[in-house]
């Protein structure tokens, strides 16, 4: 694909759908740099997306995510599926530079034409992903990759953006990171659809498994589902005790085996990614989760709420960019100065800006196609 001049969007889409690696790669680059020239192609591409199942792999730094992804890809290839990989590593907050090292562990797949691996830097995003992740997933989806595995940056406790993008979230833990209070904190530990304790050949793996199971069981008794199911507006698991009897975890379950709910909890599996041990059951668990999402209609509801989140974020970014490029931009800087010197307070400044917005009609009126990057300077 030629780089010079504006690419013809239909041609780009046709090449992407035909699996042309250079066109796919260049489209991702253009999406990443918010190149206005790629927008027309992304628009056309959209209707060809939604077929791939998106698997997010997240967990702390050094927990073996890259190695596990490599083995997942291998297992999926053995099942005859084409796999895209989006591997995210952090950008320096000071220079913007990044070292993207996830490919090191994925070299076994390097020459397989059924695998496309792309490394992305976070470029300022703080939720464990990069802003261009969603577009990258759609491009790979349209290119015919049937499973797209996203590896997040090494996460701490609150980088949970992956739930807004992945259909199935794999949460990777390892022995030796902390005591069982870690498992009951809010945040990352709530988002798994499948839990993995990697490096399970090390001491303490069984204890981590027990702690995660205990955490999941407690969540079930308290809420009737995982927190994610509540957030996405549907019962994650079809029949939960709390759904049938308000506030009582046991009342609804009187007739049945009180332990039956255990089977409905997200699975907790042990793996040794280095040797591949436990990877086949993990792929089975991901595929079972996918089947459950499809069957229950939850895939659709998850994707709807994810689309809403993406749309809101994109709208906010666009409104802000255009606002800054217009007359209110100068006012914003002036107000910021007055905030800093304590001449005004935050709420006062916000009211002033809101007045400007409502008096000038739409904040989008009169501005032409300023990208956030251009407008931000």
């Amino acid at each position: 694909m030629g780089d010079r001049g504006a690419p013809d969007p239909e041609g780009v889409v046709a090449l992407i759908r035909a699996g042309d690696a250079r066109t796919i790669a260049r489209a991702i680059t253009r999406a990443e740099s918010a190149d206005p020239g790629v927008e027309a192609a992304l628009r056309l591409l959209h209707r060809h997306t939604g077929k791939a199942h998106v698997v997010g792999v997240t967990g702390p730094p050094g927990s073996g995510k890259s190695t596990l992804v490599d083995k997942l890809v291998k297992a999926y290839r053995e099942r005859g599926l084409k796999v895209g990989v989006v591997a995210v590593d952090p950008s320096s907050p000071y220079t913007g530079g990044a070292v993207l090292g996830d490919r090191i562990r994925m070299q076994g797949r390097a020459l397989d034409e059924g695998v496309f691996i792309r490394s992305l830097a976070t470029r300022g995003s703080l939720g464990g992903l990069s802003k261009a992740c969603a577009e990258t997933v759609r491009i790979l989806d349209a290119a015919g990759y049937e499973r797209i595995v996203i590896e997040t940056v090494g996460v701490g406790q609150s980088e949970v953006d992956i739930v807004k993008l992945a259909d199935s979230v794999i949460l990777v833990s390892v022995p030796g990171l902390g005591d069982d209070i870690q498992a009951i904190k809010a945040g990352v530990m709530e988002i798994g659809d499948v839990f993995v304790v990697n490096k399970a050949d090390r001491d303490g793996a069984d204890r981590v498994v027990r702690e995660i199971r205990a955490m999941l069981e407690t969540a079930w008794v308290n809420t009737g589902a995982g927190a994610r199911a509540i957030a996405s507006g549907g019962a994650h698991h079809a029949a939960s005790p709390a759904n049938t009897a308000a506030g009582a975890g046991t009342a609804g379950a009187q007739e049945e085996d009180p332990h039956a709910f255990l089977a409905k909890l997200p699975p907790v599996l042990k793996t040794v990614a280095e040797t591949g041990e436990g990877v086949e059951p993990l792929v089975d668990a991901i595929e079972a989760h996918r089947a459950k999402l499809l069957e229950s209609g939850q895939l659709e509801s998850r994707r709807k709420s994810n689309a809403a989140a993406e749309l809101k974020a994109a709208l906010a970014a666009r409104v802000l960019a255009r606002l800054e490029a217009g007359p209110a931009g100068a006012e914003l800087l002036k107000l910021a100065g007055e905030l800093a010197t304590r001449e005004r307070d935050l709420y006062d400044a916000l009211e002033t800006l809101e007045e400007i917005l409502s008096s000038s009609g739409s904040p989008l009126a009169g501005q032409s196609g300023a990208s956030p990057e251009q407008a931000g300077d």
Partner: protein
């Protein structure tokens, strides 16, 4: 349009360590570039495949073992086969100066030997990008 420079730092051949490549990766990172690092023992085929998927502006190869006259030109050949003409290819490591001209004739734009200040490499990349 501001586009971040992306560089593939690659180690072709059978070198036993990659200290130098990591120093370069870090220097390019500190210069604001995104560095895709793929680790030791890469074949030219793997390097080119990674360069295409990662859509890098630059392939920077380091080699210590003496196989540069075979492996570096193989990378530029494969790029040409795939009609990739907008990637800058540079090399470094332990390479006798007598081989520089040959490598340049094979499309390796520059060779940076031991002791080259990293700033020289950064500046060369910035001023020789092909796209």
């Amino acid at each position: 349009m501001e586009r971040t420079i992306r560089v593939l730092v690659a180690k072709p051949g059978l070198d036993g360590h990659d200290r130098g490549a990591k120093v370069i990766a870090r220097a390019l990172r500190d210069a604001g570039m995104e560095v895709v690092y793929t680790g030791l023992r890469q074949t030219p085929e793997q390097i080119v495949q990674a360069a295409v998927q990662e859509d890098v502006d630059v392939i920077a190869m380091s080699i210590l073992s003496g196989a540069h006259n075979h492996l570096f030109p193989r990378v530029t050949e494969l790029l040409a086969e795939k009609k990739v003409d907008d990637v800058l290819v540079i090399g470094g490591g332990v390479i006798p100066e007598g081989d520089y001209e040959f490598l340049k004739s094979k499309g390796i734009a520059a060779i940076f030997g031991p002791g080259t200040p990293t700033g020289t490499t950064v500046e060369f990349i910035r001023t020789h990008l092909k796209r």
